[in-house]
């Protein structure tokens, strides 16, 4: 090791991962976040490895209980001063986990293809669901109780109606075959998501037409048949094979496929499923994965528990499709990550996000659904509660890894100041962890104003000097700062190119 090598660098060089938040390569150590804590043998203290120089004969622990505890405490303290939703509450509560803020933004920006891609990433039947869904998402909208929740369900319907033919790209065939029993919402969902991954999928149903409960129990004035037909046709168009009007027995299905998913709805013909364990409510299946007592046989939707709303069946179907994929490929599918959510009763947080949204009250459609102008005006009301960097946020990633409890320390939070003045980037002060990375990058670029640490102690904030807005503070370094920011405090505006997470 050359003289002056830090413990962090030394560890990296031998493949030991030490987490960091404030560390900026090629710069002097900053030593503020303290998540890179390590313990030098013989000391009770923990030290930041980024600023500790290795010495001859030094023995360092990177995973002692004290080290792990200190990292967790540092993360929990940061979280106690970090205000934001990783995932917007509407998306969290949506059983299908539709990225609603992203959909709203795409609608607002009139990018309908993008909106369709976002919607169909979670919901294969948006036009259908847009007519029948009870919309739990709207119940958790942060504008509810103020001037009306965003009309998410109708916006989703708008996307479905405008792009009925849209289907996602299908991965190349992977040579595996899955049989799905039942063509209701759960079965269609399983088939859709497995087909997208490149599986050969065949759907069996005793009825002559696919759709299950969607077709049988909803009056056509609410859900016209042609809407459902078009969306099922799009699924068939992806290459899903339908064998309708034919009951299939489990043994037969298993014989001809690598895995079987039972999505038979609440009224199963138990004698067709020999060997499957049943409970009080339906097929006994493991929650989340849908595994039954038979290997390679999964169950989902109302066959497991009756009375599910369709959006729940679609969400469950998606999860079981992932579980089947894990079973057949041995690959791990990323599970919903550790998530932070602002207290539901907070009024400051939604108030602070008004800057992202239109002030208009909830719009009601003139016809059955929104016109283009109405949809754009309604989508503009979204507060975009979710974090623009939810998928790349280092704080979130580490919080998950270290099992940080976000509510462990409660107390005063940061100022919630959202600066949207800049053409390329947005700054949300509530998510800033004072790591100083942007301050240092701005200085490196010799910005005329740049970013400063303002104040000291707990009240230290990051911002332009003399109260200058971001637009004036960052003339050259904005992109680099946004990309380097380890949290969602500083991010590229949608459409500002690479690294944009919106």
């Amino acid at each position: 090791m050359p003289a002056g090598t830090t413990v962090l660098e030394a560890a990296k060089s031998i493949g030991i991962e030490i987490p960091t938040l404030c560390w900026l390569p090629k710069e002097k150590p900053w030593a503020s976040c303290l998540v890179c804590a390590v313990q030098v043998e013989g000391s009770r203290r923990t030290v930041p490895s980024c600023a500790t120089v290795v010495q001859e004969g030094m023995s360092v622990s990177t995973d002692s209980p004290a080290v792990l505890r200190q990292r967790k405490v540092a993360l929990e303290l940061l979280l106690s001063d970090h205000v934001g939703d990783c995932i917007a509450p509407c998306e969290t509560v949506c059983p299908a986990h539709l990225d609603i803020p992203a959909m709203n933004l795409a609608i607002f920006e009139d990018r309908l293809d993008a909106a369709a891609a976002i919607v169909k990433d979670a919901i294969p039947l948006p036009a259908t669901l847009g007519r029948i869904c009870p919309a739990p998402c709207e119940g958790r909208c942060r504008r509810k109780g103020q001037d009306g929740s965003v009309s998410v369900c109708l916006l989703k319907r708008y996307v479905g109606d405008e792009r009925p033919e849209y289907a996602p790209a299908v991965a190349p065939p992977n040579g595996k075959r899955v049989a799905v029993v039942g063509a209701g919402p759960a079965g269609l969902s399983v088939a859709y998501f497995l087909r997208r991954r490149g599986y050969a999928v065949v759907v069996f149903d005793g009825k002559e037409q696919a759709g299950g409960a969607l077709r049988d129990s909803i009056p056509p004035e609410r859900l016209p048949q042609e809407v459902l037909d078009a969306e099922i046709a799009a699924i068939a168009g992806m290459g899903v094979e339908f064998q309708l009007g034919r009951e299939v027995r489990l043994e037969e299905a298993r014989r001809n496929a690598d895995a079987v998913v039972l999505a038979t709805g609440p009224a199963q013909q138990r004698e067709a499923m020999v060997g499957i364990d049943f409970g009080d409510r339906g097929i006994k299946a493991k929650k989340g994965t849908g595994e039954t007592n038979l290997p390679g046989v999964f169950a989902t939707g109302a066959s497991v528990a009756p009375g599910k709303i369709s959006i729940r069946s679609i969400g469950d179907g998606h999860a079981v499709a992932d579980s089947v994929h894990e079973y057949l490929s041995g690959e791990k599918v990323r599970r919903p990550a550790w998530t932070l959510e602002v207290d539901r009763n907070s009024t400051d947080f939604p108030a602070s996000r008004r800057v992202f949204a239109s002030e208009e009250a909830r719009h009601e459609p003139s016809g059955g659904g929104f016109s283009r102008a109405e949809a754009i005006a309604e989508a503009a009301r979204c507060l975009r509660c979710g974090c623009a960097k939810a998928d790349v946020c280092v704080l979130r990633d580490l919080s998950g890894k270290y099992g940080a409890e976000p509510a462990r320390y409660k107390g005063a939070g940061p100022e919630l100041r959202n600066d949207v003045s800049h053409g390329e980037v947005v700054f949300e002060s509530g998510k800033c962890i004072r790591c100083g990375i942007c301050v240092r990058i701005a200085a490196r670029h010799h910005e005329a104003l740049g970013l400063a640490f303002v104040g000291r102690g707990f009240g230290t904030a990051v911002g332009g000097p003399f109260g200058e807005p971001l637009a004036n503070a960052l003339k050259v370094a904005a992109r680099e700062c946004a990309l380097a920011c380890p949290t969602g405090a500083l991010y590229l505006k949608a459409g500002a190119g690479e690294g944009s997470a919106e």
Binding site: A31, C33, A51, V73, A74, E447, G455, P465, F466
Partner: protein, 759 residues
């Protein structure tokens, strides 16, 4: 003058390099009383200092204000001594009087801006409020508003001209001595001195301004060269004292003096002076008995700026000796066993040796005079009273390490110390006594964390005072990346004594591992507060009972080491003053603040006070300190307000341990000490707060005032109550409307029958 022209003027005067930034901002603020953005923008334009750096520094230091202030600035001291003596209720009373809400800082008419300050170093006069440089002392909630009004009306009148300087003393004639350092001045010593000078104008003998005596509780005090002394003297007493002790110079004066002696007998007589050496004065014997003065040698006799006097009493002999044997000095310091007096007790010789041996030039010497502990004022006193001794110590250190450039970093809250040490430096330079050593004074700007040496260095370089992880230590990489020796004021002040008397003489004093003496600022609930210097090994009990004269209201605990230190309970008062022993008791030596608590003091409140202090003073860089101290404070706030939750104590303790173990600098590492030590020694009091009780009757949310049957219906309390919570019912037992009561304690102190109780 426009801000642009003013900034240009300051740039010409002070310089435009990055390290001048803090001085430039201080200059701007002196002109405008705040920092106008226009001036700051111009500064960024005219210098290589970036706007971001200027904003960072201007917003970091508490001294700088970004908004215009009212016509008069009123600073309420919230130092430890002031806090335990009721600074909170004093501030509340001023706010009520000025009709200001808790979140306002300036009165509606723009007359007064109220500012909280960490400590003005007048702890033995607590609680104090400083009105445009005038210190109002020993206030309480009933006297503070009136004192403020009087002070403001004095400001409205033109100031009386200050007279004369100290007259040189004739060798044979009598001498009257008076100390006028900041805290004496705060008691009116300057007015007394001026009155003495006026009265002595035609008399033989002299009025001499002398160094601190340490007897803060008796100030202002006049002593004669024969050792007689008058205490708590008022300006109107001056003439009588002069007539009694100084002979008239002329026949006319003699005749006048006979005449006035006659008048004297007719007026109220002056009490007879007390001779200090007189064994009949047990008070002074007790106060001075356990003391031993090395750093404060000649206190009360020498004049701070009498260079000839300093030389005559052996001053600069040590420097001469060191210059003759520079290579031996480190060895002497090692043999003496001197350890740093700033708090941590690092062996001084090791620091000196490291700097002496370090490759790289130049090397720098720094005096750490950023005495930020709110309850300590030893360094201020040493700088004000013994400037030559401190400078000689620095010169010896420089000589031992081959250093030619030094910086004295002194907090801006000590204007008299700054002015004094500057004056002393130029006096020594005039006489060539500093040799090739160049010294300059840098003023801090209100940041406790700058007492941490790496933060101090950042501040000297003109940056935000944020510490960095050590190692590398300043002895390897200090100021401008060069080897740098940083020592505390008291450490330097002890060096001349050691060199002059020999290391053995020093090593014989004290304990095995802690040698010599330690200066303390003794304050709080002791009968005799003051500045004291005791040999290491003296017990806390001796200090409290003998030197301090015991505690009114029952000795509960001593806070040693301020916000970084701990709380030593009375049961452990036999702990000797010794680095290791204090640490074992849960405290630290610290820089020397000793605040004594009586049974009316609540330790949870004290822990909350210190945590409030450290979290305000946290630089905000590292997570554990920035957020951790805040979360600890919030738990303590909950406890003091009766809103504690089960599990709070465990959470507090565990967080305290994490912050102590993981923060990057001394401030964060020691910030949990007051919490941990009080939890250790007074856990039951914490538990009581969890149940919504404050056993000491201090936490205002947990107490109520009640009138007992002893009430005689005299209405004094009703008249005194600032919020009319006590109905005016003559000759009827009074009652207090709990909903209106603000717990200011005025009624209780007004009651002649002790009929108002706290429960």
């Amino acid at each position: 003058m426009s801000a642009v022209a003013e900034v240009d003027r300051l740039l010409g005067e002070i310089g435009d390099r990055p390290e001048n930034l803090i001085a430039l901002l201080q200059g701007i603020q002196e002109t405008y009383r705040y920092l106008p953005d226009e001036a700051l923008r111009h500064l960024a334009l005219r210098t290589s200092i970036t706007a971001a750096e200027i904003e960072g520094v201007a917003s970091f230091y508490a001294q700088f204000r970004r908004k215009p202030v009212g016509r008069h600035l009123v600073k309420v001291c919230h130092g430890t001594a002031c806090h335990v003596k009721g600074a909170g209720v004093v501030e509340d009373s001023l706010r009520r009087h000025l009709r200001m809400d808790a979140d306002e800082d300036t009165t509606a008419d723009g007359l007064v801006t109220l500012e909280q300050v960490a400590c003005v170093g007048c702890c033995s006069l607590a609680p104090v409020v400083v009105v445009e440089g005038e210190t109002l002392s020993h206030l309480d909630s009933s006297t503070a508003p009136g004192a403020l009004d009087e002070s403001l009306s004095r400001l409205a009148r033109p100031r009386a001209k200050r007279i004369g300087r100290t007259r040189p003393s004739g060798s044979s004639s009598a001498e009257l001595r008076i100390a006028t350092d900041s805290c004496c001045a705060a008691c009116g010593a300057v007015e007394v001195r001026d009155a003495l000078l006026q009265a002595a104008a035609d008399r033989a003998g002299a009025v001499k301004t002398v160094s601190c005596t340490g007897l803060c509780h008796l100030m202002p005090m006049v002593e004669t060269d024969r050792g007689e002394r008058y205490t708590r003297v008022r300006p109107e007493d001056a003439e009588k004292i002069v007539r009694r002790h100084l002979a008239p110079q002329s026949l006319g004066g003699f005749l006048r003096s006979i005449g006035s002696s006659v008048l004297d007998r007719l007026s109220e007589p002056l009490p007879p002076p007390v001779a200090p050496a007189d064994p009949r004065d047990p008070v002074l014997c007790e106060f001075l008995g356990p003391q031993m003065r090395l750093a404060m040698e000649d206190g009360g006799r020498s004049s701070p700026f009498a260079l000839d006097g300093y030389l005559a009493s052996g001053g600069f002999e040590a420097l001469e000796k060191a210059r003759a044997n520079p290579e031996k000095v480190v060895g002497w310091i090692k043999e003496a066993g001197l350890r740093g007096r700033g708090g941590a007790g690092f062996p001084t010789w090791r620091k000196w040796e490291a700097v002496a041996d370090a490759p790289g030039r130049p090397k720098y010497l720094i005096l750490n005079g950023d005495e930020g502990d709110p309850g300590a004022f030893m360094d201020r006193m040493l700088l004000e009273s013994f400037p030559f001794r401190v400078l000689e110590g620095m010169a010896i250190a420089a000589c031992a390490m081959g250093i030619e450039e030094g910086v004295l970093y002194v907090r801006a809250e000590y204007p008299q110390a700054v002015a004094g040490i500057r004056k002393a430096i130029s006096m020594l330079e005039e006489r060539g006594l500093l040799g090739s050593l160049a010294l300059r004074v840098v003023q801090g700007a209100g940041a406790f964390v700058c007492g941490e040496e790496t933060a101090l260095i950042a501040s000297v370089e003109g940056q935000r005072g944020t510490p960095r992880l050590k190692p590398p230590y300043p002895s390897e990489q200090g100021l401008w990346g060069c080897p740098t020796c940083v020592n505390n004021v008291e450490t330097y002040a002890l060096v001349p004594w050691i060199v002059r008397h020999g290391p053995q003489a020093f090593a014989q004093i004290g304990m095995e591992r802690s040698k010599g003496t330690k200066v303390f600022a003794l304050a709080g609930s002791v009968r005799r507060g003051g500045l004291i210097e005791v040999p290491m090994g003296t017990t806390l009990r001796q200090i409290v009972d003998e030197v301090g004269g015991g505690v009114e209201g029952g000795f509960k605990a001593v806070l040693v080491g301020g916000p970084s230190g701990g709380c030593v309970p009375a049961s452990l008062a036999d702990t000797p003053v010794d680095y290791e022993s204090l640490q074992a008791a849960g405290a630290i030596m610290g820089s020397g603040g000793l605040v004594v608590l009586d049974n009316r003091s609540c330790v949870v409140d004290v822990a909350r006070y210190f945590m409030g202090f450290t979290q305000t003073e946290s630089c905000g860089k590292c997570t554990l300190c920035r957020i951790g101290t805040r979360r600890m404070l919030e738990i303590l706030n909950r406890l003091c307000e009766g809103e504690g939750k089960a599990g709070d104590l465990d959470e507090l303790e565990s967080l305290a341990e994490s912050v102590a173990a993981g923060s990057i600098c001394g401030l964060g590492q020691t910030a949990p000490n007051p919490v941990l030590s009080t939890l250790r020694h007074f856990r039951s009091e914490y538990e009581a707060h969890l149940e919504g009780r404050c056993p000491s009757g201090r936490c205002t949310k947990l107490i109520r005032y009640r009138v007992t049957d002893a009430c005689i219906g005299c209405t004094l309390c009703a008249q005194a109550c600032p919020v009319d919570a006590i109905p005016m019912t003559p000759l009827v037992v009074h009652s207090i409307d709990d909903a209106l009561c603000v717990r200011c304690d005025v009624c209780r102190s007004a009651c002649p029958e002790e009929a108002i109780v706290v429960e």
